[in-house]
């Protein structure tokens, strides 16, 4: 089982003109969480993934995918 997760959070966030701090504020986490998710250092919980998807107006599947999918 892989524990890696590819994501498009940075790409979508930047397209919406948001900074990491602004996105963090929107979903009630620290900028550190947004940064580590974007860099692939941290695999977020389902709750954080859903909040990110909601804040960025995307589905979770559009933001996150397994490598090779």
């Amino acid at each position: 089982m892989t524990d890696r997760l590819e994501n498009r959070v940075r790409e979508v966030r930047e397209a919406k003109g948001l900074t990491q701090a602004q996105l963090a504020e929107l979903i009630g986490v620290s900028r550190k969480t947004v940064n580590t998710v974007e860099n692939g250092v941290f695999v977020p919980s389902t709750v954080i993934a859903l909040k990110l998807a909601q804040a960025l107006g995307q589905s979770v599947e559009a933001l996150f995918s397994l490598p090779g999918d």
Binding site: S30, R31, K32
Partner: protein
């Protein structure tokens, strides 16, 4: 300053403070091992008390994230998912190192003529575990912030 920015600032400060606390712990460890064994003088009791306080504060800071005087909402932000994951990883490594040191000291006591007092043994195990966990936590947090 927003809560997210304040949490960021405090997290950065924590990554600078924790290694310094660890250094104090190691320095105390060094002075403990170099001081003559025997009956406890008043100064030794103060020294032992200071070590107990420092080790307890470090353990509490590691387990809770520190910043106890800050509002609960801000503390939750400082202690969010990434921080909890970093802490779990740091405590895991600290535990492994503490156990390895304990096993190593047991081997030394069993198979060599070296004699350690129970206090020296406890000192070494606690310091190794806490110092490792502190450094690992600070390193993971720094990586997460950059």
């Amino acid at each position: 300053m927003t809560d997210a920015e304040e949490a960021d600032r405090l997290s950065r400060r924590r990554t600078r403070i924790l290694p310094v606390l660890g250094l104090f712990l190691v320095i105390q460890q060094a002075t403990f091992f170099t001081s003559p064994a025997g009956r406890m003088r008043a100064v030794d009791m103060v020294h032992a008390g200071a070590w107990i306080v420092l080790a307890s504060v470090i353990l509490a800071a590691l387990m809770t994230g520190g910043f106890w005087n800050r509002p609960p909402a801000l503390r939750r932000l400082i202690d969010d998912e990434v921080t909890r994951a970093n802490r779990a990883s740091a405590l895991q490594l600290g535990f492994v190192v503490a156990m390895a040191v304990a096993i190593g000291l047991y081997v030394i006591e069993s198979f060599t003529t070296a004699v350690l007092t129970p206090l020296q043994t406890i000192h070494a195990i606690v310091t190794a575990g806490l110092f490792t966990a502190l450094l690992r936590f600070a390193a993971l947090e720094r990586r997460a912030l950059d």
